[in-house]
């Protein structure tokens, strides 16, 4: 399993495995959309640095909403933010073997 560092970051990583891209039907971790997870226990803040397969992705808002809600289920009192970035630009090389297998 890929790890992001702390126990909480790994827990969030597992939560995000439940977020499915509605068009591709593959989770966003295997798609390689999540670049970094920042967990700040002291300030009770979580930041997800992530991207989308394309800036024009029609499902972008839905995916972000799903990310926020999934994390909220376990971290209700935390301030959750998504830092949507376009650098590095997502490419198919970011996908896991599992994702490639699911896409045929």
């Amino acid at each position: 399993m890929k790890t992001f560092g702390s126990e909480n970051e790994d827990r969030i990583y597992l939560l995000l495995k439940g977020v499915i891209d509605p068009e591709l039907m593959v989770n966003i971790i295997d798609l390689g959309l999540v670049y970094e997870i920042f967990f700040d226990e002291k300030n009770q803040a979580i930041t997800i640095r992530m991207t989308l397969t394309s800036p024009e992705c029609p499902m972008g808002e839905a995916i972000q909403e799903d990310v926020m809600q999934r994390i909220k289920t376990d971290y209700e009192n935390y301030d959750i933010k998504i830092d949507l970035v376009w650098e590095p630009q997502w490419s198919t090389s970011f996908m896991s073997d599992e994702a490639k297998k699911q896409l045929g």
Partner: protein
């Protein structure tokens, strides 16, 4: 939520009427064909074929394109639609104009109703083009896709103006050219300048996205844009002045442009990560194979001037039905379920188990729709080739079956309600 393209989508109520009306219209058009198969076996300049062609071009293809573009343009250009009100007024005018124009053609009444219908459609198109240009001016993006889409809308405007001029010429003749030559100019401005160019603009952005293809060279698109537009201008002006060498030069340039786009698509297909094409994409793939037939036919028609006029009918039929209609039928499943899904499940994601957009219909139904429609149009095309009305009716029967499934799915998707 940070600013993403999907934030810019307009109210779904602007979009969905276009899909519902379009679905009913294409079904109605093929039912009319079933009862009037001779419209495809007589000379192509006949009342029923003129009526059916305009019903399909305006009430189905243009209707769906308007609806889909109001959703896609804000996504592609990353800005909000200039005006939802203009979109609704344009829709109402398009419906009224199409009814008037189609019924005028059907009863071969080229007087006031045809002129009124044509004028109303022109107003509808002016509103659409103004809305598109307004949206595009709000966007700082300056991509090749934007050029194709904006230019295609200008061709739509030119097509309508040429059509209205033709309608006036029927009632108050003032042009010396034959109606058939003028009809070819009007038809190709619409088929190539509007439909095909629009498909290239939207398709070059969306199809690679649906196939998860990255790293294609955009040189073929950069060749396609000037080739298609210069080719079309040369061909149409030459047709008007009956200058055969110019027509052929224009056609060759246009074909180079279309083939360049197909080359781009093949490259995207080769580089795709998503190997399994879903049913919507399968029907779209069939559409692009069907496009190869009119490409060969247009060359044949010009190489052998004495070919029977049914070759021209087959050329138009396959272009409109085999290519454009098949593509729309397939791509509907790549847009409409997502629009409805976002409307129903926005705010519910991550809180409870919710269906995916593909759960709003069944894959099996789309496959049945695809095979029935594709089989049907092949049988109809064969019937036109052999001048056999019975074959046309049999093919139309299959197409109707496929379109009933399509209608069922469209209404099922649009009226889908979340259970929570």
């Amino acid at each position: 939520m940070q600013g993403t393209a999907s934030n810019n989508a307009p109210d779904y109520r602007v979009i969905t009427p276009h899909f519902m009306i379009g679905a009913v219209v294409i079904l109605l058009a093929v039912i009319l064909l079933f009862f009037n198969p001779d419209s495809l076996t007589s000379h192509f300049f006949n009342a029923h074929l003129l009526a059916l062609t305009h019903l399909v071009s305006l009430g189905w293809i243009t209707m769906i394109i308007f609806g889909a573009l109001y959703q896609l343009i804000p996504v592609i250009l990353e800005t909000r639609l200039f005006s939802e009100t203009m979109a609704i007024i344009s829709l109402l005018l398009l419906i009224t104009g199409t009814i008037l124009m189609t019924s005028s053609f059907w009863y071969f009444n080229f007087g006031f109703p045809l002129l009124a219908g044509g004028s109303i459609i022109l107003f509808s198109v002016i509103l659409f083009v103004a809305n598109l240009l307004g949206t595009s001016l709000q966007s700082e993006k300056n991509t090749i896709e934007k050029k194709f889409i904006v230019t295609s809308s200008i061709w739509l405007l030119l097509t309508c103006m040429a059509g209205l001029t033709l309608a006036f010429n029927f009632t108050f003749p003032f042009l010396s050219q034959s109606h058939l030559d003028l009809l070819k100019i009007h038809a190709h401005a619409g088929l190539v300048g509007w439909f095909i160019q629009l498909i290239i603009g939207v398709g070059s952005k969306l199809l690679p996205m649906f196939m998860v293809a990255h790293g294609m060279k955009i040189t073929p698109l950069k060749i396609a844009y000037p080739a298609i537009n210069s080719g079309l201008i040369i061909a149409l002006i030459s047709e008007f002045f009956v200058f055969q060498a110019g027509v052929i030069t224009g056609i060759i340039l246009t074909l180079i442009g279309i083939l360049s786009f197909l080359f781009f698509l093949v490259d995207a297909y080769r580089l795709r990560v998503r190997k399994n094409l879903d049913p919507g994409m399968k029907q779209s793939a069939i559409a692009f194979f069907a496009l190869l037939i009119p490409i060969v036919l247009i060359l044949l028609i010009f190489a052998k001037q004495k070919l029977h006029t049914n070759f021209i009918t087959i050329y138009g039929f396959i272009l409109i039905t085999g290519f454009i209609t098949s593509l729309i039928l397939g791509q509907t499943y790549k847009t409409l379920p997502f629009i409805i899904w976002l409307k129903e499940y926005r705010g519910k994601m991550g809180k409870s188990k919710i269906p995916l957009p593909k759960d709003l219909y069944t894959d099996a139904s789309v496959l049945w729709q695809t095979w029935l429609f594709t089989g049907g149009f092949i049988i109809v095309a064969t019937g036109v080739m052999l001048l056999q009305n019975l074959l046309i009716q049999a093919g139309a029967g299959f197409m109707i079956s496929g379109l009933i499934i399509y209608n069922f799915n469209i209404f099922k998707i649009i009226f889908h309600k979340s259970k929570n």
